[in-house]
Assembly symmetry: C2
Homo-oligomer: 440 residues x 2
């Protein structure tokens, strides 16, 4: 009799069901690769009576995840229940019981990661989480293993599909943020409460995970400068287009001297850049290595299929370790705990780059002079400036406010913000200014 690797599945919604499907359909190939079959022995769901999918064997269902943790025939717990507290209890108990864990739960790692990593190392178990970042794109495995010998210089990602979808729709259809969000919610790309997505919090957690894998540094996610796409106006997208840029929801992690430059914000990206071509709900991660140069990976960032694929990939990896008794062969975060150090985050004021600025001012003599003086006084030089419709003044009310749009040359953010503060004291400025970073 062939032995098998026993799996306990906690949560059986779309991702869990997708996983059962992939394991069932590909059972022969998986055994051909691994040498032994993977077998889902127990499935814990809140309400076993409510499960109707033909993929889910009724006799394996239980309402108690701890039954799976206690089962000696289960070696790997797959946590796809979501949420934080209950999921943490299960994962914690699983690790204490010496079981390996595969999870797709980014919120869990963001909030309870520190405890989980420590426990996993103490108990010599694997905790894999490919599905937690960029869905079906195997970026965690690539950073943790393929590029493990390489010095990564920078990561630039579109890692929140909801934000990318909304900006893509605003861009393609000149929609407002509110309309694009409503459409994304209707299409199932956005949650009823979209704050974590459109506010940048989700991308912030993800770039923190990637930065640790790439740089071997613990990153305090709550200290990463984070701006959401909810501050982008349709008019900014139109102005950006006219200037040869697309606005994309970026998460950036760069090495700058002995600090890390970490940021999450919408950015103007040149139309010819590869990230500018990543549309809709797709995700993409561009990695720049010292010797490697740039590579790009793109694909579906969410959804049952891509998430289940990543979970299944992790599962096979963990199963291989079990077969070889090679537990904790690769540390969960790429580096052993003892080798990790605390990241020193660069102050966003030190950021140097070009900036897109949009000022809303009363159209009267002297305003442009005041703007250019304030910028000049702060060492910010102007690459390009235009007012409103770029000479076509037909659309504006002759007596109302106008938009003044500027692209700066490379400058430090501190100086640009000082100039803006000074400009905003001018009584012709009738609305808050817009500042969006340009990422080259």
């Amino acid at each position: 009799m062939t032995k098998s690797i026993g799996i306990g599945l906690v949560g059986c919604g779309v991702v869990g069901t997708g996983l059962l499907q992939v394991l069932q359909e590909n059972a022969t190939a998986i055994e051909g690769r691994l040498g032994v079959p993977l077998e889902v022995r127990r499935i814990a769901v809140r309400d076993p009576a409510a499960v109707r999918s033909p993929l889910v064997p009724q006799d394996k269902l239980t309402a108690d995840p701890m039954e799976l943790v206690r089962d000696p025939d289960i070696q790997v717990i797959v946590e796809v229940m979501g949420g934080v507290e209950r999921a943490y209890e299960v994962v914690h108990a699983a690790i204490l019981a010496g079981k390996h864990v595969v999870t797709a739960n980014k919120a869990l790692l963001a909030e309870r990661g520190a405890e989980i990593w420590n426990l996993a190392e103490q108990h010599g178990v694997d905790v894999y989480y490919e599905a937690a970042v960029a869905g079906g794109i195997p970026v965690i495995r690539v950073l943790r293993e393929a590029l493990a010998s390489e010095r990564v210089l920078a990561i630039r990602g579109i890692v929140n599909g909801t934000s990318n979808y909304i900006l893509s729709r605003m861009s393609a259809e000149s929609m407002s943020f509110a309309d694009a969000l409503a459409e994304a919610q209707a299409a199932g790309y956005a949650e009823a409460d979209p704050t974590l997505d459109v506010g940048g919090g989700d991308a912030c957690h993800k770039i923190a995970i990637l930065a640790t894998l790439a740089f071997g540094q613990r990153v305090p996610a709550d200290q990463i400068p984070t701006e959401g796409i909810d501050r982008v106006a349709t008019i900014d997208i139109a102005f950006a287009q006219r200037l040869g840029f697309v606005i994309k929801p970026l998460a950036v992690a760069r090495v700058v001297g002995d600090s890390l430059d970490l940021r999450v914000h919408p950015a103007l990206v040149p139309v010819e850049a590869t990230l500018a071509t990543v549309h809709g709900a797709l995700n993409a991660v561009a990695i720049e290595g010292a010797l490697l140069g740039p590579i790009l990976m793109s694909g579906p960032g969410a959804g049952a299929g891509p998430t289940a694929t990543s979970v299944a990939g992790d599962l096979l990896d963990v199963a291989r370790n079990i077969e070889c008794c090679a537990h904790a062969r690769v540390p969960s975060r790429g580096f052993r705990q003892v080798a990790l150090r605390d990241a020193k985050l660069r102050d966003i004021g030190e950021h140097r780059g070009r900036f897109y600025l949009r000022l809303t001012v009363a159209d009267r003599p002297g305003v442009l002079g005041a703007i250019t003086s304030a910028l000049g006084d702060n060492d910010v030089s102007i690459e390009q400036m235009f007012q409103d419709g770029g000479g076509q003044r037909s659309k504006r009310d002759e007596t109302g406010p106008v938009s003044v749009v500027l692209l700066t040359h490379r400058a430090t953010e501190r100086n640009v913000r000082a100039a803006l503060a000074s400009i905003e004291t001018h009584d012709a400025v009738v609305a808050p200014s817009q500042l969006i970073r340009i990422e080259e």
Copy 2:
């Protein structure tokens, strides 16, 4: 005293020197990930006296690779010497001596792979070869591990940088193939003898490797229908552009029923497709999974830095296996030998798709009628057809031959070729026809 993993480096040209650089510069990070240092103990080169790089310690040099194979302190042989026969001797001896092997040598795998895989499995050693396909893009690791539980439906790759560079230059500058090739040779993107690159042989070997990893089937590379880019004329690129396509050097591996559709040829790709945006010497691989959907990876396909990065990534993986005594944790080709089966290749005549056809005919009455009849008789329907300059006849000699360009609807290749054979019997056809497949 910390023990270390001993490496023997065979060959120390640009890739070997790049590897020494990456191991030296990233020694701290590598030890932080692995727990022990990697140490290059011996370096075999043809002429030790000729080595001048400050990265190469003179006291480690030898002219005899077998010294490395015999050294009990060396656990991994890195083969970056190139060539086939001598490299095979070294790799063969290394495996017999129980040493693991990392190689960047695609020609070696293409010609002696069968013996190497058998030996490696018999002796329980790892043979890793990420650098052999698509340079710095970790596509082998992604297929072998990240997607190991997924059913791959199709792989479409631009895996020969020389061909992509030449077609990109022909496209951007309306250059001839010969001029673009000469430029590629001057820029170091093409060999003095470019046959293997521009004839498609190199891409053929690479897609055979990827197909085995993805589908678990042994692929006879010499039976893959292979066409080079040397048959693409500048005029085809211009016509393709007018029709909304870019011509790209593709390698394709698809599952069709119980057969594999494997092909290497230049193809018309819609301008909006992701592979159409991969320019110059870059490589890219698009993978379509049953549940995953499509992912794309792109990056540098050759060069010392990207190749050394892939070799170093493999080296760290092998070192992790050594540390865990998890030799042969992952079979070299993803599947265990016993699970591999022989691929059944689909006859290219069975290929169904759209086609670009260019006929060179004398401009006289009845010719177009003969062409359309021949196509119709063979069940090939025409999507679009134009003659020469698309109505602008200024460029052609009024009495000379004209080009008739056709896009077909989806048809089987056998039928299209039968129609062409029939058309070519017409005495108005004054030159061989051009046929280029369209890849959607």
